[in-house]
């Protein structure tokens, strides 16, 4: 019974073509699916400078549809081919905002019901005839559950000196349904791995908080059927739209239409696309990636769970020695000295600290795993990839520094009740110290953590959490040991007046940390953002001094405090947009010797028989910066690189970068630094230590074939 139906469809199709071509053309073509009519709107007659609009009016049978300029996953846009007297010119179709037409797993963009596709007609100045003869050949694809390509020849005669306005209402409705640009609306798109990150500002205020429809005019870029992951950030609409894995286009500009339900037209705007489009097929690079994925990097693969836990404990202990934990370590030393006389309190504090550290690690790991499950390509150091987090930490460390420097006491800032609460609960204090230590330590993935973390993120959730808990336990272990064995604690100096001096001294590592954070922020958002942050820090310091400074009278304190609060609010208003803006230029990763990393670059060099050294780095990674300024700046190392013609590539992870995150995952790591040396033709690189020594690099280079 299937064939006859097929024949009927075929017959209908042939019939439709016959109907269109056999008779002398008129303004109307009717097929079983649509009634199409060539219509015109010339309210002042036809003459140069007078408004003349033409259009194809399509009435679809119920459930049949034709397509928008970007038809989506299948379908074809309707085309109009005009035959006009000399000098006349028909404009492009002014497409009304389409509807989303889901079809199983596919998504199309098109129209049902009644549709007018208008075009503007330009009349030449020398036009003086009484009538205007129009001819049009239109092609459209009309689909329901089957698709039928149809076409029609249309003819229409317009009086030049009389008004043509029979379809005025249809043209008015069509004009109202055509999306228009909005002067203040602007948007941009950033290629973010396998997704397009959109940010649109200046949309109508009434749209805020509502669900938006997004129609890209460029076909073949996004997964049309996937719903964008979207949210409103104040007045800005922010969304992640997955890219089509079989993407056919890599545009630098993407015109698109935005609308909300109930809106006839919506807003048309052109998104400037930033970021490099991932390569689509063809090159050797993805193939090499496939080979390498089959044989993961040596350190990650063979570790069993027990070994990973042991590594995690050791790695956690060594974390205490990492530069970015040091300021917090100094806080801890202060804590020891304060409680050295009370053993039980000390031990309890040690345990509370351990609980704080382990809980934070587990919480962070849980968050990491949840985000991974959510498909976000994030790595361990992701906290510091957000300018907001960096700015927040800078504020926090400035506060701590000012406190240590004696500008204010926490007791004088907090209500008495909270202050005494804090005193009565030293355990809570220790717990919070543990949490703070973890927050600061996270970006410093130390040498031994790399493999554990790489494994952990690939493990089932429970095991992964166990690894992270072990890491936390390792980090807290020295503190716990010192609190449990008096011998360790007793080795510490007695409390005394030196503590005040030491406390003041400790303010400087805090301020040094702030310098580092400002530098990181500068890398992320540029010098304006860094200056804005510094301004905010000055305002914060002023506020703290105004409120907490000793010797201010009540009135002075109130006046200065108000002024300080206003200053701080103003500074924050100044800072916020700077933090949102992204640095247009890539960070200065590429210089004469180092080039920007990309998987294609590695594959190309390997194909040409060149060895490749990749420095996976980030501005916020202190270990990375240390290596960069020591070993990787060493003349001996650079001479060896040059002698062996090694291509030097730098993968900068300062800001989120999905390609780098994916590559780190592939190498079994989830943080930086990672140093990878690819021998010519080898799919798997040799990974070098994270605290890079000159001898190690030269040894690895000497071992190259």
């Amino acid at each position: 019974m299937r064939l006859p139906r097929l024949l009927i469809v075929a017959a209908l199709w042939v019939g439709a073509l016959d109907a269109a071509s056999a008779q002398a053309p008129g303004p109307v073509v009717t097929t079983p699916q649509v009634r199409a009519e060539l219509v015109a709107h010339a309210p002042e007659g036809v003459g140069a400078g007078k408004p003349v609009a033409l259009g194809l009016l399509i009435r679809h049978q119920p459930h049949w549809h034709t397509y928008w300029k970007n038809p989506g996953d299948s379908g074809l846009p309707t085309t109009l081919e005009w035959q006009l007297p000399a000098g006349f010119e028909a404009g492009p179709i002014e497409w009304p905002t389409p509807s989303r037409l889901p079809l199983g797993p596919l998504m199309n963009y098109g129209y049902e019901g009644t549709l007018l596709l208008p075009v503007a007609l330009t009349v030449p100045p020398d036009f003086a005839a009484d009538t205007l003869d129009l001819r049009l050949r239109a092609e459209w694809l009309v689909c329901k559950d089957v698709c039928i390509p149809e076409s029609g020849e249309f003819a229409l005669q317009l009086p030049a000196r009389a008004a043509t306005a029979a379809h005025a209402a249809a043209f008015a409705a069509a004009r109202a349904a055509v999306p228009a640009p909005l002067p203040q609306a602007q948007g941009r798109a950033r290629v973010d791995g396998t997704a397009l990150a959109l940010r649109v500002e200046g949309l109508p205020a009434a749209w805020q908080g509502r669900e938006l429809s997004f129609f890209p005019e460029t076909p073949g870029v996004i997964q049309n059927a996937a719903k964008p992951v979207a949210q409103w950030e104040g007045a800005a609409w922010v969304a992640q739209v997955p890219l089509d894995p079989q993407r056919a286009e890599s545009p630098t500009q993407m015109p698109a239409v935005f609308t909300v339900p109930g809106e006839a037209a919506g807003v048309q705007l052109t998104l400037a696309v930033k970021g490099a489009w991932p390569a689509v097929g063809g090159s050797a690079a993805p193939v090499a990636a496939v080979d390498a994925a089959a044989a993961p990097a040596a350190p990650a693969a063979p570790i069993g769970l027990a070994l990973a836990l042991a590594f995690a404990v050791v790695g956690g202990m060594l974390l205490n020695l990492m530069p970015c934990v040091f300021p917090v370590l100094s806080l801890k030393v202060l804590g020891f000295a304060r409680h050295a006389g009370e053993r039980r309190a000390l031990l309890a504090g040690g345990l509370a600290y351990t609980v704080g550290v382990v809980a934070s690690f587990v919480a962070l790991a849980g968050l990491l795993l949840a985000l991974r499950a959510g498909g976000e390509q994030l790595g361990w150091g992701f906290q510091l990839q957000s300018p907001w987090v960096v700015a927040g930490l800078a504020l926090l460390f400035t506060l701590i520094g000012l406190n240590l420097a004696g500008m204010f006491e926490f007791g004088s800032l907090l209500p008495d009740r909270v202050a005494t609460l804090q005193l009565r609960h030293p355990l809570l204090d220790s717990l919070l110290t543990g949490v703070l230590a973890v927050a600061v330590a996270a970006p410093c993935t130390a040498p031994f953590m790399g493999a554990s973390l790489g494994l952990a993120v690939t493990l089932p959730t429970v095991q992964a959490l166990a690894v992270f808990a072990a890491l936390g336990f390792g980090m807290a272990l020295p503190y716990l040991a010192a609190s449990a064995w008096p011998a360790v604690a007793r080795a510490l100096p007695r409390p005394g007046p030196w503590m005040a001096t030491f406390k003041g001294l400790m303010a400087f590592p805090m301020f040094a940390t702030v310098v580092w954070l400002v530098w990181v922020l500068g890398q992320q958002v540029g010098i304006d953002g860094a200056a804005a942050l510094l301004g905010t820090l000055v305002a914060l310091a002023f506020l703290v001094w105004a409120i907490g400074g000793a010797g201010h009278s009540r009135a002075v304190r109130a006046a200065l405090g108000t002024l300080g609060a206003v200053l701080l609010a103003a500074a924050l208003v100044w800072t916020a947009p700077a933090l949102r803006s992204e640095l247009a230029a890539a960070p200065a990763a590429a210089d004469a010797t180092w080039q920007a990393w990309s998987p294609e670059r590695v594959a190309r060099a390997q194909a040409e028989g060149q060895a490749v050294f990749v420095d996976f780095t980030a501005a916020w990674c202190v270990t990375c910066q240390f290596n960069k300024r020591t070993t990787l700046a060493s003349d001996a190392v650079m001479a060896d690189f040059a002698a062996r013609r090694v291509l030097l590539l730098r993968a900068d992870w300062t800001r989120r970068d999905a390609a780098i995150t994916a590559e780190l995952t592939r190498l079994g790591r989830s943080g930086v630094p990672v140093y990878a040396l690819y021998a010519p033709g080898a799919a798997t690189p040799r990974l070098l230590g994270e605290i890079l020594s000159v001898a190690e690099v030269r040894g690895a280079l000497a071992a190259l074939p």
């Binding site: 097929l6 299948s74 329901k144 698709c147 997955p242």
Partner: protein
Amino acid sequence: MKLILTSLSLMALAAAPAAAWAAAVGQPAPAFSATDTAGRTISLADFKGRHVVLEWVNPGCPYVRKHYESGNLPATQKQATAQGVVWLAVNSTASEHGDYLPPGQLAAWMKARGAVPTATLMDEDGQLGRAYGARTTPHMYVIDPKGVLVYAGAIDSKPTANPADIASATNHVTAALADTLAGRAVATPVTRPYGCAVKYGGAG
């Protein structure tokens, strides 16, 4: 109850695309196993070391008929298989859809038009189609001997239903095969497929 079922199936549809469009050019082609019109089980793994073409077909689609009735697709198949290429036509039309042809009728339809695919696969549940992200008929894929997808897209460069356009169009599949058979990277690895939507189950 119906409302619940509807919303459940809507949720399933909304969730589907994330997992569905797995195939990407330059990546390993998704493995599959399917039954052909003669009842044989055909797996991609059977053809390791050979070039494989996948062609989504639906005789109910005017764009498919354009390329069969003009002899374009049969000729492309003939040329490819003569060079040792494995050609698998795939029909992902759901059995409840009006366009659906049972295996025997589909094979007869193909044969009557001189088609010479290595096999014609039945994919009524659309699994194979979804794994490759096939959206239109025709939608063409080329897989190299290493099992890597090297081409995805249209049969040729003129997205119309008019057979007269075939002569002046570039056949993307022939071009991709010429490149990959010669060991070169495919010059145009991705194009936009055109044609009717694949009639997956639950569609329309």
